[in-house]
């Protein structure tokens, strides 16, 4: 049976991992390659590397890091942050990334997703969406939450699927950094609205939250950062817990 995926997210700045709490206050949590290797050994199912500087001058640092992660890590990983052209994607994939994630640039240029999917296949295109609930609607935000679009989460996800996105990584800005649990209602509605996998992000604080995001949120994968980086939850313990709750999980290799 297809396993639900546990995905640690490494926020990267200058080749090191950091974690932004509610996209603000940044704390250092270690070397990216080392952390990636440890997570793979612990049973992480995939990794996401999110370059939060993404300035043009620092791009080479990211490409080198991607190459080092690809050499050392034997599970799939996604690279995101600042990707705005099909050429960027080509460089990242040729350095060994398995997938890329696009966010703001895909909203500004609706041809970007289709361009990547046509050239490299939908399987490598993850659309990241940051959204916040306003009244009864979930509104899409860009630039790490600083720019409001007025676009509806579900509409944008469905359009992206048509354009060729292979997965949706949905971060609830209302839940991110709170450790109070994932946005279960929005996730469930999103999962029922589209036919591609949904990765849940924002709000992980306990092992029960992960169970809930799979059972109630219908997510295909769950992403978290600080609860893993700072050791509140260990991946082996989390997988044991989820297995005990009858959730399909790839067991940790002994």
């Amino acid at each position: 049976m297809l396993a639900k995926r546990i995905i640690p997210c490494l926020d990267i700045r200058d080749g090191r991992t950091v974690k932004g709490i509610n996209f603000e206050n940044i704390r250092d949590a270690g070397d990216a390659v080392e952390l990636a290797r440890i997570y793979a050994q612990q049973g992480a199912d995939e990794l996401v590397l999110l370059d939060i500087t993404a300035t043009h001058e620092k791009r080479k640092t990211l490409y080198e890091l991607v190459g080092r992660v690809a050499a050392e890590v034997n599970i799939p990983f996604t690279v995101g942050g600042g990707i705005s052209t099909v050429e960027d994607v080509g460089i990242l994939l040729s350095n060994g990334a398995d997938k890329i994630s696009v966010n703001s640039a895909a909203v500004r240029n609706k041809k970007l997703i289709a361009g990547i999917a046509d050239k490299y296949g939908s399987q490598c295109v993850v659309l990241a969406i940051d959204a916040r609930q306003e009244e009864r609607r979930w509104i899409v935000y860009l630039n790490g939450g600083r720019v409001r679009t007025g676009m509806d989460l579900y509409d944008w996800a469905a359009e992206a699927e048509q354009l060729g996105a292979g997965e949706i990584l949905f971060t609830s800005m209302d839940h991110d950094g709170t450790r109070d649990g994932f946005a279960l209602d929005a996730l469930r509605q999103l999962s029922e609205h589209i036919r591609i996998p949904v990765i849940a992000s924002g709000g992980a604080g306990s092992m029960v939250h992960f169970r809930d995001v799979f059972t109630d949120g219908l997510a295909d994968a769950a992403l978290a950062a600080s609860v893993f980086h700072f050791g509140q939850i260990s991946i082996p313990n989390l997988k044991d817990h989820l297995s005990s709750q009858n959730i399909s999980i790839r067991p940790q290799l002994k």
Binding site: L2, N74, L93, D98, Q123, I196
Partner: protein, 190 residues
């Protein structure tokens, strides 16, 4: 040992090469007929669309070379599918080593089939241990007498196939953790 990875512009060749490095084997990326013919082991990877991949194989005359190979050949993901007779993806005639029709998953579940799933032994060989492997695909090879590992997603399908010196895996051993590295090492020991 001389190992080559057929390099025809279809995706994950670098990942396969890096996975082999991790188990201590340097493989060359090549599309040269002589180099492929002389290799002891040939890996035929692939990610992307069946039709564009077959177009490239034909342009490079690899469509006649690959079926003529006598050493062990391992097709990975799209590479495995291209070893079959035909793919529904772009209604594409393929290499015809396995007399199988590659089909699109029915729309009753999420497509692509993406993530870790269990492959079970249908016809046991030590080369293909049962276990958890990483899959990413929208098309599948049906179960048949060639099937050595089977998987279930929406329908039962072939996770691994074998005929003579030709092997195929639908999953990505190069991204399947330790289990994938064991499988690649087993293939290289053939």
């Amino acid at each position: 040992m001389k190992v080559v990875i057929i390099d025809y512009g279809a995706g994950n060749t670098r990942s396969v090469q890096l996975a082999l490095e991790r188990i201590g084997v340097h493989a060359r990326l090549t599309a040269e007929a002589d180099e492929i013919r002389e290799a002891e082991k040939v890996i035929f990877p692939g990610v992307g669309h069946a039709r564009s991949a077959m177009d490239v194989l034909r342009n490079k005359k690899l469509d006649t070379l690959i079926p003529s190979l006598r050493q062990p050949v391992l097709g990975i993901c799209l590479g495995m599918q291209l070893l079959c007779t035909h793919s529904e993806e772009g209604d594409t005639p393929c290499l015809g080593i396995f007399d199988e029709q590659v089909k699109l998953f029915p729309a009753s579940g999420k497509v692509p089939h993406m993530g870790w799933n269990t492959a079970a032994v249908s016809d046991g060989t030590a080369l293909f241990p049962a276990g958890w492997y990483y899959f990413v695909h929208s098309y599948y090879v049906p179960l048949s007498s060639y099937t050595v590992l089977s998987c279930d997603y929406i329908t039962g399908f072939a996770a691994a196939i074998q005929r003579d010196n030709f092997y195929g895996v639908q999953f990505h051993p190069e991204k399947s953790g330790k289990a994938g590295e064991v499988l690649l090492a087993n293939f290289l020991k053939l």
